[in-house]
Assembly symmetry: C2
Homo-oligomer: 331 residues x 2
Amino acid sequence: MKVNMMHGAGGEVMGELLQTLTKFTHNNAGGIGLEALDDGAVIPFAGENLVFTTDSHVVRPIFFPGGDIGRISVCGTVNDLAMMGGRPIALSCGMIIEEGFETANLERIVASMDEALGEAGASIVTGDTKVVERGALDGIAINTAGIGIAKRIVRDNGLVPGDVIIVSGTLGDHGLAIMAHREGFDLGEQIHSDVAPLSKMMEKVMEAGTIHAMKDPTRGGFASAINEMAKKAGVCVRIREDQVPIRKSVKSAAAMLGIDPLEVANEGKVVMGVPAMDADAILAALRSHKYGKDATVIGTVTTGAHVIMETAIGGERFIEPPMGDPVPRVC
Amino acid sequence: MKVNMMHGAGGEVMGELLQTLTKFTHNNAGGIGLEALDDGAVIPFAGENLVFTTDSHVVRPIFFPGGDIGRISVCGTVNDLAMMGGRPIALSCGMIIEEGFETANLERIVASMDEALGEAGASIVTGDTKVVERGALDGIAINTAGIGIAKRIVRDNGLVPGDVIIVSGTLGDHGLAIMAHREGFDLGEQIHSDVAPLSKMMEKVMEAGTIHAMKDPTRGGFASAINEMAKKAGVCVRIREDQVPIRKSVKSAAAMLGIDPLEVANEGKVVMGVPAMDADAILAALRSHKYGKDATVIGTVTTGAHVIMETAIGGERFIEPPMGDPVPRVC
């Protein structure tokens, strides 16, 4: 068998590849390990919880409306730490650069990473650089790994019936920004990626109330994240279509491209399940932060299975996990 | 300016690129950070020292005599942790895979990584996979980052006059194994990479005596590592040519290829400076482990500057830091 693009798309097909990649027998350092397939690992250490995660970034183009490969490299890892309840402390940065890459672009990427680090309250403390010959890579690939500290671990499998589902803002912005920009749409430049570090916001939110489960809906989008959360917890999630926040420009671009905005990556959003009694406090905490100002309740958790969309006209349909991401190289 | 192959070769030219890559203002988490350009960072945490490091691997071919890209990915990071005095705990693994890559090869790589993890006493606890379209990468690139715990931090800048310089075994094996294999030399298959995880050996060695400074001589080889150590400490290092262990087959291949075996990468060796009174105990500890059985004293540290080779016939010459690695994509 050969690896194909669908294997990297964050959808159902990726499971095949993960079967190979999770054959490590040395896969856990005493806490939550590779086998959990959560946003990060947890390593109990000196009475505290270290959170550890990694992401490689190959997004194209490297500069896009609202962000660039540098910003996404920092935010992707910071957000994975935040999704586990971790406050980011230190990041590593491994760059692979193609011979001929403009150093001016590299400087721009480093400056963008540095800005995102400042926002997140984290530092890049160690790095590595490899240069490969022309043609062996198209431009640049950036890996970051990150260490965080979590007072309280939050998993992606903790939804319980009665929970309220909250999203921190509009969905589909990042994936459609990348796609519209690639296609050269006129409205393309109106759609901006939401790429942002959520750690400071999440620190406040976690003080405001209990979060049973959360996840950042990156590759595979909201559809993938919410299905994974429902499946892992063995519950049914009901989403109200008229409550799901999607920008008009995103809806238009998605319609033109034949893409479901719920199936494309977000890079600055969180989906969470919280006890109904905590929902107002958590919403208030989210809305008090610029990255959560459009936060809203979009559904509820019940017993059963699947993710069900209650449409505006009173119908019902499943929100299926996407087979793959319709936008390749989105992060 | 454009990035060129010399920028990634671990030699003097790499400094230009590092000037860009070390422009991060958020570069330290309270201990040893990016600015130190050591083998890893140190993060003080809960009264302990966390060591954190990363390496991306692009070695070609991906399977070579004595190892493969999987083994080198684990050992590279494990050894960087060990060089800081850290016992490896947890690694991350970020893979970028080209569409069309054989999953059988991926399984072989994962199995090899798992074996090296077992030897090192570490685990891969978190991972990420990206698939890129055909032509965007040649095959596979693997990043690992690692977390270790150090009772006692060892730096690469601590040489003091009077120290004895020890190497843990023969030099040049990895670089020449890669190069001879690529060139299709008949004797090629006789030269094996030394790629190995040194963490268990180093735990014993650190109990045997004091180590003032150490480094693993990877890209740029021994010549690069010893010059960096001498320069950072502001001392002179004198090496006795007849004491430097190099295999006959490595010498032959190096002569045929016109390559200095002291300038090519090793992936399972350590160079250290130790107080003369501790040298015997440290040598004994090294030699008691299979990866240190050929350990030997090769020189001494004096006041002054530069690295000087005392030749077998009584002459002297500088060991210069190489401009770049003569073997591209060696790790």
